[in-house]
Symmetry: C2
Subunit: 694 residues, 2 copies
């Protein structure tokens, strides 16, 4: 599924520096630099400013890693089922498994709130490159890095202040493109009251489960509906997408608007090697072991299975995705092409006198990454949390750090605790998510075991965490004794700030306080010794690339709004042609009655009422990655002709390059969604709202 | 621990062809080509034929992956605790955990039989290179491969026939060295009646558990004693090792005799890349997930923990070992050194007219491995059993295949079913090992899930295995319905041969019969298209290497007897000196009271009686790998000064090269073993037997 890889066990190395020029037959383009001429020449479709503006205002970012789109004037949002699983979990309880059973609100009054959910619309793009570069001029290393961040925080704050007291308060986010070649402020209108309208059963939304995930042909009804509210009422959203029930024909041009999370196509070879040699293998081996524990936990009881469904899906999804990225990087063909491209680029830079300042950037990156290896494991486990998994320990660490950071002036804070970031963070901390002690013990015990295994039993931090206790006992004691499952305690600690935290006797808060100095020291080392070099070198390389190759390139994905294009099409796999459409008949044929190939009872009951030749899923060569989940697929008139939910297995190498022959995006067809609402779920009111929308 | 990586989920690619010349300051040398002169010059020790012969006859191979040595004239064998875990498990039952509690037989009458165990002594090395090459002369490809195997089988049979009716029946094994440069018959005297004499508690044998495994400093009492029997009586073993209680001093020369299992130092770059890109990542990810399931299974109850101890140890040991091998291969420094070495070697070959026939060998290997990738997953899961894990399914598959193979003439059989191989196989099949249905369900269910995941739900073999059932249900049904846990049924099926198998209605036998044609077809494809090319190319490359570099090199390890040498020494780790010895005091300091740092009660009771400065473990720069577990460490007089049980973390890259600055072997000190027997276990008779032996 095309959700960005969750930072379950540590984040992906941020994308950085530029090497090979992007070709204009691919790309995740920003709305203000869309290659209109090339697309007109290639597809015969001319997208004007009106089209672009309307699609931009109709597309929403679902915070946490997805995309959606308004599909009615009353704030109705279409997205994937797998983008609302956290909400379904929040609404579930023992004996009431909303994720499994699905739900339909027949009136707005029946729409329950997704407490942690926010959706955002990008209203303005403001370039601030000159202001950022001015702030770091004449600075190098750690000082330059610090000033850059302070400037970004200051620009965000000033931007948000201009909206103070206005009808539509906005949040502003600094966006770095091309690894430092350009800086922007993205202005977002935020909806923090989001409610659930419709979700189908898990078994049809994720039919085929992990075995079929990232595969095509495919038969998933991976859609759901949310609604944005303002002042307690459905939001007014005059920009929204109309449905084209018949969808797009094979070969027809299509466009995808969305928020691709992260790509690494512009990484230097040294960065790719770091991914291949250090980051990916470590992450994959830990995640595989955790998967084994989750699956065994799930097998113990139906209640366990329910509890672990959502984290297990996220883990398996990331595993399949990163595993195939890793295989792509292990392929010497890809790597030697990257090496050749970089050598050519560096040679071009070397022979261009005005680019002298860029020439050393690659060597600086090499050196920084060599140093990074020495403390990467400690950073991953102590600062980035691989050693402290689970919801409860996450609460403890964020509460502790937020209390410290909020005492500082805005410009001095870690970037994820600035004034602009706090509202979402606070909403996350105080949302009444269910806590499952068995699962918490599993996750914390696992991460303590990995902490010992990775840093060794003699590590001073291990001693701070465990004393002389075993990982499993220490985890069980902490989960048993902490009060952080109670949102009231979290609110008290949040509101009470530093004084409340320091007075707290909660054992998880105490543990978080004990490791905080170690975590901060590692963070400081990362920022000063690694990130600082990568950022400065990234700016130098990006400047060289613009100078040599112009701006006919697209930046790596950064979970910001992009538009990509292509046509509806299958591909050739070995000696076989893969057709671009599947239908309901194929889904019924595939249903063995055993999970994950079991259909919900209502789909067996209603089968006689359905047109089995209704198209269900389709593939296209649009260039997408994780974060595009829930993206609308549009035709040349801007009508909704599909809902992205996945890519094929070949698309997973798309993190590093786009393979036009094999890389395919996978979407739900509008005909299947409408037929399901009409004939299976009897969702008359919802269909009328969508029909009015047409 | 230095046991070879078990073929838990599929075997390691066989080592093959020669590239870089070995230096004479390292190496696993055969006893008939020991570099006596170099060692005399370097260490000042001259090992004559008497020394070599006596040590060879005192060293035993423990079938299944370990080494041992005779330490009394009455068949007493010293080896590691972790080399007898299968026997400890066989002797255990619910409520009687021999692996945890240890055991001591006070008289031979109390020594229980290890049913599946065999030990072997190498009595003669016979070179047969000319005979093998003659058999394949003028043949290429699949035909050459077939004839080579037939010839090896015929030579083994003829060799064994010469011992028929003699007092000491022998078995003969063909051994391929230098990837095909030389062929030998190794003549072994076999002991198939092996009994357990002594094992300490698991907690002291494997003190520090997985976190400390492959680490040094170290505090493990990883030793045990077996006894070889002949005709129901302790075997007479006039060649045995005397103990030197004080051990060897720091800097003193030492020698290690043993059976290193497998190294890949002579692999071509293409083969290394296959390991790095295909074999290792797949194996590691599967094994990590299985580890997660085992650990969760163990946490459910003390009985589960007991059941899974031995397979979990094997898995974690292999995981840590192969993970570090993988990291070594991911290191571009190692890989580019290998590339440079190979380029130079190939250039030397190319400019030597008489080596023209070798010049194309590397390209042939490249092509064969490219083809291998296309069916490697299917081969691994269907033929090599990654899709059919667990003892019961293993019985079913071997019984089915043995029945078919035994109907063929000896020379036509698969090599693992020849007359020479059958006795050990039969002993394995009929031994009354305990079967644990919960663990069998876990293992079979896991492997069925991976089968579906890897080959896809649409694979025809998946349909044969599962029908429309889910992996877990299918596994549970098979484990519940099969009768193969009963040794009597296995004996009936073994003795009944093909007719009995074909008549059997046992569902696991039926399943094994259903997949047998697919498995055989994959095996045939591997032998004809991949192995054949690798074998022929290996012979060509080895011949070129001998021509250019002479015989001052050692062959890759093949689980056959080798002798290596070095000195007792630590190493420098970063800015720290690691001393070569640890002592009992250090062990007590490290004991937190929590597993895996918990000592058995008797060790706490007896602490006052012990000399805490007694040396416990020590490190040396002897060149060893998995399979050397249980190897005797000898001084220049051939006295026992240690018992190899592990290497440090740096030694794990030793699969691909020997790093003299960091690679260290780890052994138990004789003083600690003797003190434990005397002061902790009150093993007076055993100490007297060893003392007489001195």
């Amino acid at each position: 599924m095309h959700r960005p890889v969750a930072a379950l066990l540590g984040p992906v190395l941020a994308c950085l520096a530029a090497a090979s020029p992007a070709r204009a037959d691919e790309g995740m383009w920003t709305f203000d630099n869309f290659p209109r001429d090339e697309v007109r020449q290639k597809l015969g479709v001319d997208l004007g400013a009106t089209w672009l503006d309307r699609v931009r205002r109709s597309t929403v970012r679902i915070e946490g890693g997805c995309t959606g789109s308004f599909v009615s004037p009353n704030g109705l949002v279409l997205t994937n089922h797998h983008c609302v699983t956290a909400c379904l979990r929040q609404l579930s309880a023992p004996g009431r498994d909303v994720e499994a059973a699905g739900m339909l609100a027949r009136t707005p009054r029946e729409e329950p709130r997704c407490e942690a959910e926010q959706v955002s619309v990008l209203t303005r793009i403001e370039e601030v490159t000159a202001k950022v570069l001015a702030a770091v001029a004449d600075q190098t290393g750690a000082e330059s890095n610090k000033r850059r961040k302070q400037q970004l925080t200051a620009l965000e704050k000033a931007c948000e202040d201009t909206y103070k007291g206005m009808k539509d308060p906005h949040s502003c986010e600094a966006v770095t493109l091309y690894g430092g070649g350009q800086y922007f402020l993205y202005h977002y209108k935020r909806y923090d009251d989001v409610r659930l309208v419709f979700a189908p059963e898990y078994e049809i939304a994720f039919f085929g489960g992990d075995p079929d995930n990232f595969e095509f042909p495919r038969w998933d009804l991976d859609f759901s509906m949310l609604r944005a509210y303002e002042n307690g009422k459905p939001a007014r959203t005059p920009d929204y997408l109309r449905w084209r029930r018949s969808g797009a024909a094979a070969g027809e041009p299509i466009f995808v608007a969305g928020h691709p999370g992260s790509t690494n196509r512009l990484m230097t070879v040294a960065e790719l090697q770091f991914e291949r040699e250090v980051y990916l293998p470590r992450w994959l081996l830990r995640a595989s072991e955790l998967r084994g524990r989750y699956l065994h936990f799930a097998a113990a009881s139906p209640e366990n299975a329910r509890i672990v469904t959502e984290p297990l899906f996220g883990l398996e999804n990331s595993l399949k995705s990163l595993r195939n990225q890793f295989y792509a990087l292990l392929d010497e063909n890809l790597m030697s092409r990257k090496r050749r491209d970089e050598e050519k680029f560096r040679a071009d830079v070397a022979r261009t006198p005005k680019l002298a300042s860029a020439a050393g950037a690659w060597d600086d990156i090499d050196k920084a990454l060599a140093g990074y290896r020495a403390y990467f494991d400690r950073l991953t486990f102590i600062e980035r949390g691989a050693g402290f998994q689970g919801e409860l320990m996450h609460y403890a660490r964020v509460l502790v750090r937020a209390a410290i950071e909020r005492d500082k002036p805005n410009g001095e804070r870690l970037r994820e605790y600035t004034e602009g970031a706090l509202p979402q963070l606070k909403q996350d901390m105080l949302a009444s998510n269910p806590i499952y002690p068995d699962l918490e013990r599993l996750r914390l015990g696992f991460s303590f075991e990995k902490l010992v295994e990775t840093l060794g039993p003699d590590s001073p931090v291990v001693a701070k965490v465990l004393g002389r206790d075993s990982p499993q006992n220490a985890a069980a004691a902490l989960v048993g004794a902490t009060g952080l499952a109670d949102p009231a305690l979290r609110r008290a600690l949040w509101d009470g700030g530093r004084a409340a935290i320091e007075k707290s006797t909660d054992p998880m808060i105490r543990l978080a306080l004990r490791v905080e100095p170690d975590a901060r020291e590692l963070r400081r080392r990362y920022e000063d010794q690694t990130e600082a070099v990568l950022a400065t070198s990234g700016e130098r390389i990006a400047a060289a690339r613009f100078a040599l190759q112009g701006t006919n390139t697209y930046p790596d994905a950064t979970f910001t709004l992009r538009l990509t294009y292509g046509t509806v099409r299958g591909w050739r796999e070995g000696d076989q042609d893969i057709a671009p459409f599947t239908d309901l008949a194929g889904m019924y044929r595939r249903a063995t009655g055993q999970p994950p190939f079991r259909l919900p009872a209502v789909w067996l009951d209603r089968k006689p009422k359905l047109s089995l030749n209704t198209k269900l899923n389709f593939s296209s060569n649009a260039d997408i990655v994780g974060g595009n989940s829930g993206s609308p697929v549009l035709d040349e008139k801007g009508r909704l002709v599909g809902l992205i939910f996945d890519g094929n297995i070949h698309s997973l190498g798309g993190d590093y390059w786009f393979d036009p022959t094999l890389n395919r995006a996978v979407a739900v067809h509008p005909a299947a969604m409408l037929q399901a609402l009409e004939k299976v779920y009897d969702a008359g009111a919802l269909v009328r709202e969508l029909t009015i929308a047409r």
